[in-house]
């Protein structure tokens, strides 16, 4: 029977949530192809959460263990996946920092193309098809993957996680082949405050020039804290001005986000910003200019002074969550 390989991610011995999205996407594709799903876990020991892979849709969970696999090993991970990749009809990665580096390595080693950042997967005439936003989401491309295997990476926060399978996957192992370490990952520097990434947070609160000065982002940090699981994003203008780290930038030359709730504060809505957040499920805009383009894409808007509206919103959200 044909099989699909789902590449999971762990950090510090804990499975990352995006891994469940990868397995669910692989499962949906496998059901259309009449295939099974193997999930691979690359690590240097036991991984917390690996037991959930079966219920997300993996028929088999393959452990690939190596002393160098505690951290990401670009060469080792690529060599391991490429060593078995040729047996699969498709390989599904997350379009995460790791997956964006790893998927093209594996595709190149298998001598085939790679579709990155896909938001939809299907099967037509026995071939895998994918939809993917291009021009930062200003257009949607539909493609057919003729290669074997079809190598894809899925955009985080886009594919629903299924938990219904209700079975434990069979356990297996993959022998890690000998590999040359060309690049060494020395370590991971954690930020001073553990912060959610804008691409993975269910709620994103973003600020623009309307905040007037960098210190005022405290208002958005407070609002994000009130929501709980939220990240603070920024427009290109304020990142270019050095107010916020570039990793927080949402838009065509920054990150493309698709949270459940996106709150745009003091952001007028330049075309390149809209491109980066238009697939958010619900958009709220707070802006003093009632004609700002951001209101044309927002589901809900408040016209007013953000310095009055945002603190009130923080209070109301706190009240709601306290109930």
């Amino acid at each position: 029977m044909a099989a699909i390989l789902a590449v999971t991610e762990q950090r510090g011995g804990a499975l990352r949530k995006v891994s469940l999205e990868v397995i669910s996407a692989a499962r949906a594709l496998a059901d259309q192809l009449g295939a099974s799903v193997d999930a691979i876990v690359l690590s240097n020991g036991a991984v917390d959460g690996a037991g959930n892979l079966g219920s997300a849709g993996a028929d088999q969970v393959l452990a690939a263990s190596h002393d160098a696999f505690g951290l990401y090993s670009p060469d080792g991970y690529a060599a391991t996946i490429a060593s078995i990749g040729g047996n699969y009809a498709a390989i599904v990665f997350a379009a995460s920092a790791m997956g964006r580096d790893l998927a093209p390595r594996v595709a190149a080693r298998l001598g085939t193309g790679c579709a990155t950042d896909v938001t939809g997967l299907g099967v037509e005439g026995g071939k895998v098809t994918a939809t993917r936003p291009v021009y930062a989401g200003k257009a949607i491309q539909k493609i057919t993957l003729g290669g074997s295997p079809a190598v894809v990476s899925i955009r985080p926060n886009t594919f629903p996680v299924s938990t219904g399978a209700g079975k434990a996957g069979a356990a297996g192992t993959v022998a890690v082949p000998a590999f040359a370490t060309r690049v060494t990952v020395k370590g991971v520097k954690a930020p001073e405050q553990a912060a959610l990434d804008v691409t993975e947070a269910p709620i994103v609160v973003s600020g623009g020039r309307g905040l007037k000065e960098p210190g005022n982002f405290k208002l958005l940090e407070d609002l994000a804290a009130a929501f709980g699981s939220a990240a603070v994003g920024a427009s290109r203008a304020v990142v270019d001005a050095g107010w916020r780290e570039h990793g927080a930038q949402v838009g065509q030359t920054g990150k493309t986000v698709a949270p459940t709730l996106y709150v745009a504060v003091g952001i007028s809505g330049a075309i390149q910003h809209l491109a980066g957040m238009r697939t958010s499920k619900v958009i709220v805009a707070i802006n003093k200019d009632k004609d700002a383009p951001i209101f044309k894409v927002a589901d809900y808007g408040i016209v007013g002074d953000l310095f009055e509206v945002v603190p009130r919103l923080t209070d109301e959200v706190k009240k709601l969550r306290a109930e």
């Binding site: 539909k142 619900v282 809900y300 408040i302």
Partner: protein, 249 residues
């Protein structure tokens, strides 16, 4: 140091996208084209590294139509020494593009090969890494801080909730992210000098590849929603809507 920078000509990020008559690509009429913004970081890194080394050569390699000559001239005006245009309409399959670029770079004695982390048109995010794999070179992608010293490099790349620190020997491939530097603007002197710098053109033909674009469409328009109200007094109504109507909090 001998450094190559791979460059792509792309529509300006402020351009409005209109689907062309073939239903698979964009209508390029009236669209302004620019060097891919992430490639500008790679160009700046190359020029700065050569300046620091005090010697060496920087070469820009672009794969594209003849129109990309103008994009190459922009790189030469910034300070790159010479340019190579691989004449091709391109491919939806990044691996085919990577093969053509790798063939051009192979055996040329480059210490460092730089790319932008992705092109802002096709969002493929893969060609630099694939070139490194084809050339069997170390590769660090999406680099936001880079130090090159004594035949080796150290780099940082952003990952979710942290920064990964990496190291490798030269020769190597690096793809650049925002944050690595601030690209310089071409000076008037640079623009004049660029006109006389060598620009070689070579036709290349790409393989059919395994990825076929079947359609390109604009995303569904978002319906403009409602203005809940004005000022802080509208906040309770907003919170209520987010909870009961949108069910997101």
């Amino acid at each position: 140091m001998k450094i190559a920078v791979c460059l792509k000509r792309v529509p300006d990020t402020t351009a409005k996208i209109v689907v062309g008559g073939d239903g698979k690509s964009i209508d390029e009429s009236g669209v302004k084209f620019v060097p891919n913004p992430y490639d500008e970081y790679a160009l700046e890194a190359a020029i700065a590294l050569k300046e620091k080394a005090g010697a060496g050569e920087t070469v820009v390699v672009a794969l594209g139509t003849d129109a990309a000559q103008e994009t190459i001239r922009t790189a030469l005006a910034m300070g790159i020494d010479r340019g190579v245009l691989l004449q091709s309409p391109g491919s939806a399959d990044g691996f085919e593009v990577a093969k053509a670029i790798a063939a051009e770079l192979k055996g040329q004695g480059y210490d460092l090969i730089l790319f932008g982390k992705m092109a802002v048109d096709d969002y493929n995010h893969q060609v630099g890494v694939m070139v490194a794999e084809l050339l069997e070179l170390p590769c660090v992608s999406a680099v936001s801080a880079l130090t090159v010293e004594g035949g080796a490099l150290t780099a940082e790349r952003e990952i979710e909730g942290g920064v990964e620190q990496l190291a490798c020997q030269l020769p190597a491939v690096v793809t650049a992210d925002k944050g690595i530097n601030t690209p310089r603007l071409p000076s008037l002197k640079g623009i004049m000098a660029a006109k006389k710098k060598p620009l070689e053109t070579k036709p290349v033909s790409l393989g059919a590849g395994s990825i076929t674009v079947t359609s390109l469409a604009l995303p569904p328009e978002r319906q403009a929603g409602k203005i809940v109200g004005e000022g802080p007094d509208a906040v309770p109504a907003l919170v209520q809507l987010l909870r009961t109507e949108a069910k997101v909090i």
